[in-house]
Every structure is written in structure tokens, then in C-alpha cells.
């Protein structure tokens, strides 16, 4: 029998009618929608046990305590440590997404020589050659670490120079160091006892120093009160986040901080608001007004406020002698609620010089901020975990990223106390990655080992018998039965804080009023952020919201 067109139609009709009574259309409909809920190109979290580890953030010098949630062996979330006596559980916005940095597209994974891939052997050979030919400089961004010890030791043994790069916050303390002959690393601010804080452009509420230290103080003593216990006066050209939330904001012309300081000093002395009788600044009050664009009335008002609710602590954004001099006038140096000496250290490391052409080569540690670029002919060996782009380094050497290296964390620049913590590595870096210390140790096997140095430091603290260890509970060092126990605790994320130092050990004196200091105001809201790149999620702050300006230099 032959099949006609009509038969085909009928058959199809039958099939169509039949299929409705089978699972086919219904199951397919369901499964296709389930497919849209599990699209294969959408990543899903891995399965695995979830545990929480405690460590210390090493992205900048602040050394905030952090709790890291690990899933299937990888860090998936970061939070502050409320038991940490300094940060009290706070972190900066960038810190919360820092665990994603290790997968940042700009992560450095292989040695680069003039932008081309190279090997560690070549880099090592080149550096050895340099050492042989002439003096080398080893530049460190965070002195006082065990790693710093290794770098310094190498420089010493190979008649090179160990130099440090100071951040804006440390530089702000330079004048006091100069006047008192105390190393910058031994100086700090006693914010906790200040009752008036006058900030010349320092972003006190926005990532300055150790986040959480001042912000907590401010939220407890100042926020929203019309006559607060802690008066925050922000002197700045723009309405920064700090200026916005300060008790008073005084708008001045950009870079006229020194003039305002001089003006205030004049009023303080002339109106006998302070004990000191001089030296008088060269700048007249009228000049100060015209320079700063602030009315004479406002300056007098400011001076009076500074004098009334003491102790008054003046903080500069960077090195500014005339601003620093105000603290001397107000008697806030070496006094509670002022500039204090936090450690007994006699001399500190030498800052990197302006004209470094005397060096054959310069090795830059990964702790040095990316935008530090020595103007020199010397061959540059730069360690970094991420390539921030836009700068010339002969050798770019990949070093461990976030939580990939065990290192210790000494006191941060602005702190008034002396803590010590150990950041243990929670994940292992790729084999192709080395720290500067490891690199140098390869060249000179006689260098001290970091692990040993950390041990030494721990037993030093143990012998010192002063201070307290803040872990899950607080334990005075005196209570520990062995250095090992103490080291264990520190390696577990606890932090040691030395007892508050006796004040009055600090004396500052200068003969005439310091002159104008050229201002290079740091205005980037994340300028304290050391790594070359931002965590991708940081874009929520400026791209996916209007909360902040997009940062100029760093690619997210």
C-alpha cells in the first residue's frame, strides 16, 4: 500500500496527540528551566569543609587582625578580629575583598626582564653580577620585620646599603624625629587621650593609620554630638569623607597648610593662649589670611578652640614642620594625648636618598608601594605580587601574594603602642614565586632564616616579660611558661601589645619658626593601600555606586 500525503498528516496528528500523554513535553519543560538555574558557564562554589583561621593583614603596614573563613582549602571571606586591641574588629573596605587578589588578572607569575619572560637563574646571575661590580641598595617598605633583618644583613655583608621608603604617615612624624633625635619608627600619636584633634588634611576617618583605631574612638566620643568629648577639626581644601564627618571643617586653599599653621601660632602666642612665648612665625596674620583664604576671625576662633579643650593633637597629612611646630607650642609633645615615644629604639633605618645614582643596582622589596620609582640609572630589581603597570623596572620578580607568605608584623607608623604579630601563610604560592629574602638567601646561604628570626623575636618578647598577648583571651606575657607557647599563640593569629610607654621621654626644640614646606598633598582615598592593584570588588565603591571617586593610579 502506498502512503499518501493525507496519511502523513494524519499520522503526525496522531503522534502529536500521543506525545502529550507522555512525559516528553512536560519533563523537557521542567528540565530546561532547571538548566537555566544551573547554566554550565556560571561558576558555583566548591564543596568542602568550612573552617575559620586567624591571621594578620599584610597588604599595608597597618597590620590589622583578620579572621579568614576557608572553604575547601581556599579563603572565601575575611572579617575583622573584635579581640584585637588596636583595630577592635575593623578593616578597610579593600581588606574585605583582599582574598580575591591572588587571582587578579594582573597577578605576576613569572620573572620578567624588560617586559619579557625570564628565569630566576637569569635574574640571580644579573643581581650577583651587579653586587660584584658595585654597591647595591636594598630598599624596604616596612622596616622592623624579620624579612627586613635579612635584607639589612645582606646589604651589610655585600657592602651595599639598606634603605627604607617612608609612607606619608611616617613622614608626618619626621620633624619631631629631627628635633628630638628619636627615630621615626619610635614615635607615635596618643590619640586615645587627646580631646581635640586637628587634622591638616590627614584622612583620619578614611583609612589613615590603622583603620578602626581612630574611627572607633570617634564613633564613641564624637559622632553626631554637638559638643563632643573628642573634637575633630578637619582642615582641608575639599570636603573629604573625614571633613564631612568632622566636628568642624575649615576649608583652606590647597597647599596653604603651613601658612595657616603660622597664623594659628601667631594667635596662640599673641593672645597668650599657650605658655610658650616664641619663636614667632615670620608670616603675619594678614598674610596667613590671604594665603589660606580663611578669615582672620576664623583663624583666631580655631586657635582658641585648639587652646580650650586640651590635650590638643595636631596631625599633618605629610611632613610639614610648621604644622608639627604647633604641637610643640601646645605642649603636646611627649605628653598624654600628644606625640609620644612608643619604643626604646635608639636609631632607625636610613630613608632612601633623593639622588641614588651612586648605586649599581637597586633591589626593591614587595613592601615598597608600587608608585615609588627611584630616578636613577641603576639596574632595578623589583619584587611585586601584582603588576600595577606604568613604571619601568629592569627586573620584575613575582613574590607571594595575599596570605601566601609567613611574615611578622611590627608596629604600624601612627600607633602609640608597640605590637607584634605573625601572619602565617594560609595558602601555598606557586613554585615559581619567591620573596626578596628567599632570593637573597639563594645568593648568600649564610643569611639568617626568617623562621629563626621570628623565633628569636618571640623569645625576646618572652624574656621581656612586659605586655599582653591578645588571643581568644588576654594573657600577660609574664603568665606564659615558655617562649614556644607564646610563639604558638602569635602564629595562631594572636597579637602582642607592649605596655604603654612612660611619657615625657620626648623633648622637641627649635630656634626659629620653621619655614614654608612644599606640599604634595596625598588625596587619593586609598593612597595608604600598598598593593599595585585593587580587589575587583572595590569597583562597587566607585563604578557601581557614586560613593567615591575612581582612584587615579590603580587598575581594579
Amino acid at each position: 500500500m502506498k502512503v499518501s500525503r493525507r496519511d502523513l498528516l494524519l499520522g503526525t496528528a496522531g503522534a502529536a496527540a500521543g506525545i502529550v500523554f507522555t512525559p516528553v513535553p512536560w519533563k523537557l519543560l521542567g528540565d530546561v528551566s532547571i538548566w537555566t538555574q544551573n547554566w554550565p558557564w556560571i561558576p558555583q562554589p566548591a564543596h568542602g569543609p568550612v573552617e575559620t583561621k586567624q591571621s594578620v593583614c599584610t597588604l599595608c603596614a597597618a597590620g590589622c587582625g583578620m579572621r579568614v573563613r576557608m572553604a575547601a582549602g581556599w579563603p572565601v571571606a575575611i572579617s575583622g578580629v573584635s579581640t584585637n586591641p588596636i583595630t577592635k574588629g575593623a578593616l578597610c573596605p579593600l581588606g574585605f575583598a583582599a582574598h580575591q587578589l591572588n587571582w587578579h588578572p594582573r597577578r605576576l607569575r613569572e620573572v620578567r626582564h624588560h617586559g619579557r619572560a625570564a628565569s630566576w637563574e637569569e635574574a640571580q646571575a644579573a643581581f650577583e653580577r651587579a653586587c660584584a661590580e658595585g654597591p647595591v641598595a636594598v630598599v624596604d617598605g616596612r622596616p622592623g620585620r624579620s624579612a627586613s633583618g635579612v635584607l639589612a644583613a645582606f646589604a651589610e655583608k655585600h657592602n651595599g646599603a639598606y634603605r627604607v621608603v617612608l609612607g606619608a604617615e611616617s613622614q608626618a612624624l619626621l620633624p619631631y624625629a629631627e628635633w628630638s633625635g628619636t627615630p621615626v619608627s619610635a614615635l607615635g600619636y596618643d590619640l586615645e587621650h587627646a580631646r581635640t584633634v586637628v587634622s591638616f588634611g590627614a584622612p583620619l576617618l578614611d583609612g589613615w593609620g590603622t583603620p578602626g583605631r581612630f574611627t572607633r574612638l570617634w564613633s564613641e566620643k564624637a559622632a553626631g554630638a554637638s559638643n563632643p568629648e573628642l573634637r575633630l577639626i578637619q582642615i582641608e581644601s575639599e570636603l573629604s569623607h573625614t571633613a564631612a564627618r568632622a566636628w568642624r571643617w575649615l576649608q583652606i586653599r590647597k597647599g596653604s597648610d603651613s601658612d595657616l599653621a603660622a597664623g594659628v601660632a601667631r594667635v596662640l602666642i599673641e593672645e597668650r593662649l599657650v605658655a610658650a612665648r616664641g619663636p614667632l612665625p615670620a608670616v603675619s596674620l594678614a598674610d596667613a589670611c590671604s594665603q589660606t583664604g580663611v578669615s582672620e576671625l576664623a583663624i583666631r576662633e580655631l586657635a582658641r578652640v585648639m587652646a580650650t579643650q586640651r590635650p590638643t593633637l595636631v596631625i599633618a597629612a605629610e611632613s610639614n614642620a610648621s604644622v608639627a611646630a604647633l604641637n610643640v607650642l601646645l605642649g603636646s609633645v611627649g605628653a598624654p594625648g600628644g606625640i609620644i615615644r612608643k619604643s626604646r629604639a635608639k636609631e632607625g633605618p636610613v630613608p632612601f636618598e633623593a639622588n641614588p645614582n651612586s648605586y649599581r643596582a637597586i633591589l626593591i622589596d614587595s613592601t615598597v608601594p608600587w608608585d615609588f620609582v627611584p630616578r636613577t640609572k641603576a639596574e632595578i630589581f623589583r619584587f611585586a605580587a601584582w603588576d600595577g603597570g606604568g613604571l619601568e623596572a629592569d627586573w620584575l620578580l613575582p613574590c607571594p601574594g595575599f596570605l601566601e607568605e609567613t611574615t611578622d608584623v611590627p608596629s604600624a607608623p601612627t600607633l602609640g603602642v608597640e605590637p607584634y604579630a605573625i601572619a602565617t601563610n594560609l595558602t601555598a604560592p606557586a613554585e615559581t614565586i619567591k620573596t626578596a629574602a628567599q632570593f637573597l638567601a639563594k645568593i648568600d646561604s649564610t643569611l639568617p632564616e626568617i623562621e629563626k628570626l621570628i623565633q628569636a623575636r618571640c623569645s625576646e618578647i618572652f624574656e621581656g616579660r612586659t605586655g599582653t598577648v591578645y588571643g581568644d583571651q588576654q594573657t600577660p606575657v609574664a603568665k606564659f611558661e615558655s617562649a614556644q607557647k607564646l610563639e604558638e599563640q602569635l602564629r595562631g593569629g594572636a597579637v602582642w601589645v607592649n605596655d604603654a610607654p612612660k611619657n615625657g621621654e620626648l623633648r622637641c626644640a627649635f630656634r626659629e619658626w620653621p619655614g614654608e614646606t612644599a606640599s604634595s598633598a596625598v588625596t587619593d582615598w586609598a593612597s595608604t593601600w600598598a598593593p599595585a592593584v585593587f580587589p575587583p570588588l572595590a569597583a562597587k565603591l566607585y563604578q557601581e555606586s557614586k560613593l567615591r571617586e575612581a582612584p587615579g593610579r590603580r587598575p581594579a
Partner: protein
């Protein structure tokens, strides 16, 4: 015992640092910004916005207001409009729950929400290669074409529930349940707790005279409260605030 989880946010204490935004994003596997994303197409279940007193120069004042889902208790705008029950007000916790896997992406709920607290996934979520290892296993990743919002860090609630169950307890310990934004706030501006419990500090804070809610007169009974002692902030944030004279020179 049904709980009513909510917040009281102290606007005087918010420094606008944005830690809550980032902490929220990591906790809830919110993807990084797509190349073309803007403040109008991005995903920020917790978002800090600026308040100004409208003046310029030295007279200008600024404050910051964190906005997440208000967890409306009454006439919840998004719940009633969703055609296929992808949103619901949970009886046990008072959390307004958004189920992206049920959502068809009609965005009706977004037009219904007066707080603009809902976000649409305009792009497929993408992370740089390898970064998917940093995803939180407690939260499933959303796909393109669905609406999402703050679920009050529900993954953390799950952990608390499981912990309670392990101890064979019926109720969770509120200390085990702290949303990421609350935990992240450096100034402790966000107070979180059970509004249905008189002994909870959040209860007193929510009922203090200087606390208020956004668009209160619409009658959606948000469970996110705000408080400030500064009149100009109150006037800027609260549409229904009776405008005191000193508000003009805030």
C-alpha cells in the same frame, strides 16, 4: 517563637568608607562590576549613598546613608506583586526572601520597591579565571536575567541554625547570626538584632525618639530603622520629618 530581625543604622556614625558594600558582596558571591556596569546597572545589595545639605563651598555638609533591603513587614511591596512567588515574607524570621532560581526576571518587584533596594542581573556573573575558588559555599551564584537583593546574609542564618541543631537547641543564638555588613562596620554604626524581643538592644534603639524609617507614611513598616541627632540629616533623609528651623543652617 517567631523572630523579627532588623537593624538600626546610626547615620551619625557612618563615615561612608564602604566596607559594608564590599563585605556584603564577598559574603553573597556578588560578581565584580561588568565592564559596562554603572551605578544604575551595578549590583550592590548593600549600598551607601550620599546625603548633602545642598549648599556649596565651606557651608556644604555631607553624610552617608547605607541602604539595603528594608525587610518591609506590612504590605511588603515586592511580595504582593511577584507573579510566581519568588519573593516571600518569612514568618519565622521576618526576612523578605528573594529566590533568584524562581524569578523570571520581569522586574515588577523593582518598580514596586520605593527604596530601590532590588538589583537586576543585567550580565552573566563573571570572575577572573581561578577567582571562583573564593566563592562562599553558603550562597549559590545568581544567573543573568534575575532579580536579587539583600537576604540578610541568610547563609549565616543557616550556619546558626545548624549550630543550634547540633546542640539540639530549638532557637538560634543571636550571637551566631551577624550579617556581613554589621560585622564589617568599623564604627559600629549598624545595630542588628531581633526587633520582636524587648530585651534586645535593637528594640530600644528602634523606639528611641531620634530614630525613624524611610517613607514611613507609605505604611510598609520597614524593619531597617535609622537614627541621627543632627536635624539637617534627619530632614534630608526623612521625607516626613517636620522641618525644624535650624535645619536650614545644618
Amino acid at each position: 517563637m517567631n523572630a523579627r530581625y532588623g537593624m538600626v543604622i546610626d547615620l551619625d556614625k557612618c563615615t561612608g568608607c564602604g566596607a559594608c558594600i564590599v563585605a556584603c558582596a564577598t559574603e553573597n558571591n556578588v560578581p565584580p562590576a561588568a565592564a559596562r556596569a554603572t551605578w544604575r546597572t551595578g549590583i550592590t545589595p548593600m549600598l551607601v549613598q550620599k546625603l548633602t545639605n545642598g549648599k556649596e563651598g565651606g557651608e556644604r555638609r555631607e553624610a552617608f546613608i547605607p541602604i539595603a533591603c528594608m525587610q518591609c513587614e506590612h504590605e511588603t511591596p515586592c511580595v504582593s506583586v511577584c507573579p510566581q512567588q519568588a519573593v516571600e515574607l518569612d514568618q519565622k524570621t521576618g526576612i523578605v526572601m528573594q529566590m533568584p532560581q524562581r524569578c523570571l526576571g520581569c522586574r515588577y518587584c523593582m518598580t514596586a520597591c520605593p527604596y530601590h533596594a532590588r538589583y537586576f542581573n543585567w550580565w552573566d556573573p563573571q570572575w577572573p579565571p581561578g577567582m571562583e575558588k573564593s566563592l562562599n559555599p553558603g550562597v549559590s551564584v545568581r544567573m543573568r536575567g534575575v532579580v536579587e537583593k539583600c537576604n540578610l546574609c541568610h547563609a549565616r542564618y543557616h550556619v546558626a541554625v545548624e549550630k543550634a541543631a547540633a546542640k539540639d537547641k530549638k532557637e538560634i543564638d543571636i550571637a551566631d547570626y551577624v550579617p556581613a555588613c554589621v560585622e564589617a562596620c568599623a564604627t559600629g554604626a549598624i545595630l542588628f538584632g531581633n526587633l520582636a524581643d524587648e530585651r534586645d538592644p535593637v528594640f530600644a534603639a528602634a523606639h528611641s525618639p531620634d530614630s525613624f524609617r524611610l517613607l514611613e507614611r507609605i505604611g510598609t513598616e520597614p524593619k531597617v530603622h535609622y537614627k541621627t541627632k543632627q536635624d539637617w540629616i534627619r530632614v534630608m533623609a526623612d521625607r516626613n520629618a517636620d522641618r525644624p528651623t535650624e535645619a536650614q543652617h545644618g
